[in-house]
Symmetry: C2
Subunit: 476 residues, 2 copies
Amino acid sequence: MATIRSEARLQETLDRIARLLEKHRVLDTLAARQEGPKRDLLEHLQHRQNLAELHKFVRATHAADLAFVLEALPPGDRRTVWDQASVEQAGLAFVEVSNVVREWLVESTSHERLIALLTTLDPEDLGYVADSIPSDILREVSRALASADRQAYEESIQYGEDRVGHMSREMVIVGETTTIQQTIEELRALAELPPQTDRVFVIDARHVLRGSIPLQTLLLKDPSLPVVGVCASDTVTFAPGDAIADAVKAFERYDLVSAPVVDDRGKLVGRITVDSVMDVVRADAEWRALKQAGLSRDEDLFARPWDSARNRWPWLAINLVTAFIASRVIGRFEATITSLSALATLMPIVASIGGNTGNQTMAIVIRALAVDQLRPSGAARVLNKELVISLLNGSVWGVVVGIAALGLYSNLALGAVMMSAVVLNLVVAAVAGVAIPLALHATGRDPAYGSSVLLTFVTDAMGFFLFLGLASAILF
Amino acid sequence: MATIRSEARLQETLDRIARLLEKHRVLDTLAARQEGPKRDLLEHLQHRQNLAELHKFVRATHAADLAFVLEALPPGDRRTVWDQASVEQAGLAFVEVSNVVREWLVESTSHERLIALLTTLDPEDLGYVADSIPSDILREVSRALASADRQAYEESIQYGEDRVGHMSREMVIVGETTTIQQTIEELRALAELPPQTDRVFVIDARHVLRGSIPLQTLLLKDPSLPVVGVCASDTVTFAPGDAIADAVKAFERYDLVSAPVVDDRGKLVGRITVDSVMDVVRADAEWRALKQAGLSRDEDLFARPWDSARNRWPWLAINLVTAFIASRVIGRFEATITSLSALATLMPIVASIGGNTGNQTMAIVIRALAVDQLRPSGAARVLNKELVISLLNGSVWGVVVGIAALGLYSNLALGAVMMSAVVLNLVVAAVAGVAIPLALHATGRDPAYGSSVLLTFVTDAMGFFLFLGLASAILF
């Protein structure tokens, strides 16, 4: 048995492919420098030998590793590697890559090859990638499917990407009147079970779910027992219309490997598995970070600059509008600033410390909302707590900032203004840090999306207003 | 069979407990208003009846649900619920809660009860929570363990929390000379398999791993076959010292349910399972968001304000220092600002748009680093791409901002300064957005931690410098 450490293997695979591609490019360049027949000879001999080596190596690569390599390579190299993969490998890798790379692959593959590789997929996997595929190709692929597969595929695409029904998979079903021995014989007739099968599902004559039996129970219990006697009774079930986010939480909480999907009459219609759930968790975590930075959709590391630039516009535009509004707050105090230019120097500090503490409060509230742990009664309590913290932090850091301002400008009143503005802006930051994600959540939005721009807008504008307003009231 | 939708069940549990606690508090208040014997009577009758109801409900709650409820309740209520749980429930819930709530539970539980609940745990779970428990209690618990359990516990704590060895779990092992039939008989003798057992591991006489057999193979293959003949040969293996982060990636990529842990001589020493891996993925995702907001450790939603305030200081202090440095850049141009106060009004816009675009670039680079997809050759390419994007975005948005400034102040030169400063600061943001996470990564740090404060420092300071510098050179 080959016992390979997986991360090491993956980096070796990528290194090896990178070296082969490098050789490929060097030979390309050499060949281009030669003229006529000599060039042909060089290409013919070395070049093809090298491609053959790459071809052999790619074909021996696990499809999941191939997906990783495709993600990590820039477009030219990506295409060279992609062209070497077998149809089956290409199909599996096509399912594993991210949405943006999948779209790139669709654009860069001939219709013929695309149809060939899609036809090798499970109906569930086909449903999973359907959104990325042009509809004419999808129709051709669907026509090529066996009728049972076509039905499974059509069921999976009738639910949105964020619904349990969309990631429902093949399963093993036994009738409630069988015994363990009969069940084992039925399994043997299948020769192979679907991936991630940790249990078989028991149904009655009307296809209603009666429970499930873990494989280990089939192994451990007396084979002559009827299956209904050994059914696990506490199975968590999902409806096809349930949010995948809820399924993710249940899988985490109850340590599930697979769980049944039933319709509203209790009939078994599918199964979801831990591997799909893990993929969702990872994709969510990555996407959340990109969203918080204001990217409106996912981005290929090697996307065309123009596509990337436009991907970043929506939030840049919002940021620009809020920055202009905050700037107009300063504009109201231009006369004050002209009399004491130290104010222009110090004002960004008040805004910055407010933005920083507000983001801390907001991160905690967003997390509590994401795991459903913030209840209406808890919200008031959390706001109270954050207000106390802001007063505590305000007293400590307000004094530090005030003394620093006093030291820089030898102006006691200016130090006092600075201190008061910091304390007040921290209170503003606490209120905004609790209120903004709660408000986004209450209107059905993702509390993380947009929260940071809104918060910085509030803490900037209020920071400038409080500091310059206090200054013009007290210093002049 | 009870087919319950899990998220609904969980919210019902929390609602039900909240209502019982509410009744409890109302009765407390009523009782406090009464005097003498009447008060005693009230307490005695209604109060105890109510607690008995809560007690019964808590005892019927799944330990994972109990953990969720404990996280979501403020300290007073949390303690009331915690006191109702059975020792076994409390033990399992203690493992499931977050670190901060676990620390709170340690503080709020008598030594006696703490020892009792810890003694009910698997040795692996005990190792998992060991860091939160005072060493004197740990010694007493360890003394109470059976010798095999104590050995498993001591092996698990000898690795750091981020190492595979720390989350190694119990497994089923068979010798390479047995047949499938003998293996099934050995399993039957165990009566129950450890959780998340999807395969048994095959070892030779020196305890070296030969491979693994999925349970479904045991069910499907001819029972008279020797186990070595049906061993899966492509098993991914881990070393106890491997980073858990690497194991997480392998579980995601290869859709594993469990995988063996072997020492450097190939001997089988443990097993890691998908449920632990999922917990790590979730905890990482949550912790990353908190870290990016500048929280130095995790925080209980209901922590004491003073503890929370201090948790937020380290980054507040760093933020304050960088804000003061950026402010000193403005200080150099105070004379310029006094002559044209519009500069003070417009300068935060230049800084803000730089911070926003820099954060977008950084989010993409951090994600690529996290999934190991950014190679040295790729870094130069990504920097090039981001520079092109910044020039594209700079041309578009620089013109917009320049025209807005021109419109506000009817000063063509000021509009030109504003436009040039935005273009240049976007270039600065692109370089900083690529360089900062790469530099943090190269020095072995988490590229997300601290990156945002550093980036904002660069884009603020350079934004002020570029705008005010250009203004004093061109306008005066």
